[in-house]
């Protein structure tokens, strides 16, 4: 299961992912990200503190966010070790700012 909490402020868009992103839940993530208004010029921050699981479907969705907002600074924070491992393996740590 996945739940998503979005906090859209003046200068930044915070997206917290809670649970699992896989082929079943990824559409929910894509739809939520498509619904968000006025992203231009904002920093996008994905908080993955409570994300237990992600695979290529979810990583693909994050790459899609980068594709849609190529100029945005995208940060990915608070990753669990299994998640950050996948970011390293797939080179995503290079296109997102991870901490």
């Amino acid at each position: 299961m996945l739940s998503i909490s979005i906090n859209n402020e003046n200068d930044k868009l915070e997206v917290a992912l809670i649970g699992e992103v896989d082929i079943y839940t990824v559409d929910m993530l894509k739809n939520k990200m498509d619904e968000v208004q006025e992203v231009k010029g904002k920093e996008i921050i994905f908080d993955l503190e409570k994300l237990d699981y992600i695979d290529s479907t979810g990583l693909g969705a994050l790459i899609g966010v980068k594709g849609k907002h190529p100029d945005a600074v995208i940060k990915v924070v608070n990753m669990k070790s299994n998640v950050s491992r996948l970011f390293d393996i797939t080179g995503l740590s290079k296109i997102f700012i991870t901490e």
Binding site: I23, Y24, Y53, D55
Partner: protein, 142 residues
């Protein structure tokens, strides 16, 4: 109850429908088996990703119609865990699949690369229009 010797392989099979919400069942089963075998938490997380990638592919590329099913076999052979994911779809050639281009990340094409990175051995048996078996093996580290 008979005592299982190390040489005896035990097989656990799951038949899953080509419906996205049930891939998590393959992960849960994997966790149970890998945990029993003594894999540590990090290894179990890796195995979960690998089995999900293979199931996702079986569903996305292998199942022709929505109510197609695919099979996951977990084979415990001594301290090796062998996972076969079998579909009856169009098949593909592993050699012909390109590695991802890290300078130009794309939304697709990461799954097999991730599987190969996380597992010790990966083998694909596939015939055109005659399904795919992807076999993934992970050795229990002492």
């Amino acid at each position: 109850m008979e005592v299982q010797t190390k040489e005896d392989a035990v097989k656990i099979s799951l038949t899953l429908p080509g419906i996205p919400e049930f891939v998590s069942v393959a992960r849960l089963t994997l966790s149970g088996i890998a945990n029993r075998m003594g894999f540590d938490i990090d290894a179990i997380e890796d195995l979960k990703v690998a089995v999900s990638e293979a199931c996702t592919n079986a569903m996305k590329h292998g199942c022709n119609i929505a109510d197609d099913s695919y099979v996951v076999n977990y084979i415990v052979s001594g301290d090796r865990l062998i996972i076969d994911v079998c579909d009856s779809g169009r098949g593909f050639d592993l050699e012909a699949v390109e590695s991802p281009d890290f300078d130009n990340p794309k939304e697709n094409g990461l799954g097999l690369y991730i599987i190969k990175t996380l597992m010790d051995e990966v083998e694909v048996k596939s015939l055109e229009n005659n399904g795919t078996i992807i076999r993934m093996i992970k050795q229990l580290e002492e």
